[in-house]
């Protein structure tokens, strides 16, 4: 699914669009940065409640094209700026991590 469609289906508040046409087929959820670094498949969407600059650093490291901030977490300006520079989509959703994972799973995106 294209990132722009994914954001639309999740009713996400998009702070930085990244590459809206890029396809995402997998997702990972977690708030421990090194756990994500050690386990996530490159190219996955990442659902987290961590909303700070280092999230972008991890996304760059693992070629994560879209970061979904769950439970209404907002992206601070420095995170948005870095995501724009690195062409990463960052978006907030009101649903929890669990709810977002379920929605993604229903859309055919799995871990």
């Amino acid at each position: 699914m294209k990132i722009k469609d994914l954001c639309e289906k999740l009713n996400a508040d998009v702070h930085a669009t990244g590459d809206p046409e890029r396809d995402v087929t997998k997702a990972a959820a977690g708030d421990l940065l090194s756990f994500i670094i050690g386990t996530v498949s490159e190219g996955s969407a990442w659902i987290t409640i961590q909303a700070h600059l280092n999230v972008a650093a991890v996304a760059v490291l693992k070629d994560i094209p879209v970061i979904i901030l769950a439970s209404g977490r907002k992206a601070p300006p420095d995170l948005i700026e870095r995501c724009r520079t690195e062409n990463i989509c960052v978006a907030s959703v009101s649903e929890s991590i669990f709810g977002t994972c379920k929605r993604l799973s229903d859309l055919g995106i799995n871990g």
């Binding site: 708030d31 421990l32 940065l33 090194s34 756990f35 670094i37 050690g38 490159e42 987290t48 961590q50 700070h52 600059l53 280092n54 999230v55 650093a57 991890v58 760059v60 490291l61 070629d63 420095d78």
Partner: protein
């Protein structure tokens, strides 16, 4: 490649907001030099985790990357508190990170294991009260 390319960074302790800058720089330099992408990816993880360790555990230190003909060596040296039990520190899930670091998602207890997993050679030496030295090597064309 004629002479080795050396990069050296002084990493500031406990500054979470700039953490990752040096390792990103190393990754970009490797890409610019045309190093194979698999090596770039592994090196990026090693450099990032090593840099974060300096920030969250060691009150800062030196992060170095040396790119030579056939390999990349990433090393750190610090004068932090040292690691009393390296085997324990190498166990996934074990961490001594501060609450502040953990709240930000650091301190998963996977830093050193992630470095080791991505290294071809991994050496760590630590003396409590003196500091820690880490050397990770990745060979090209493996």
């Amino acid at each position: 490649m004629a002479a080795p390319v050396c990069m050296e960074y002084r990493i500031e302790g406990n500054n979470f907001m700039v953490a990752g800058t040096a390792s990103n720089n190393i990754k970009n330099t490797l890409k610019m030099l045309g190093i194979q992408s698999d090596v770039c990816r592994r090196a990026a993880v090693i450099a990032y985790e090593a840099e974060i360790n300096l920030v969250i555990h060691a009150n800062g230190g030196i992060l170095k990357a040396v790119i030579s003909e056939d390999k990349l060596e990433i090393s750190t040296e610090d004068e932090g508190p040292g690691i009393p039990d390296i085997d324990q520190a190498m166990t996934e899930g074990y961490t001594t990170a501060s609450n502040q670091a953990r709240e930000m998602g650091f301190g998963a207890g996977m830093g050193l294991p992630n470095i080791k997993r991505n290294s071809d050679l991994f050496e760590i030496e630590s003396t409590p009260g003196v500091g820690t030295k880490l050397i990770s090597t990745v060979f090209f064309n493996k």
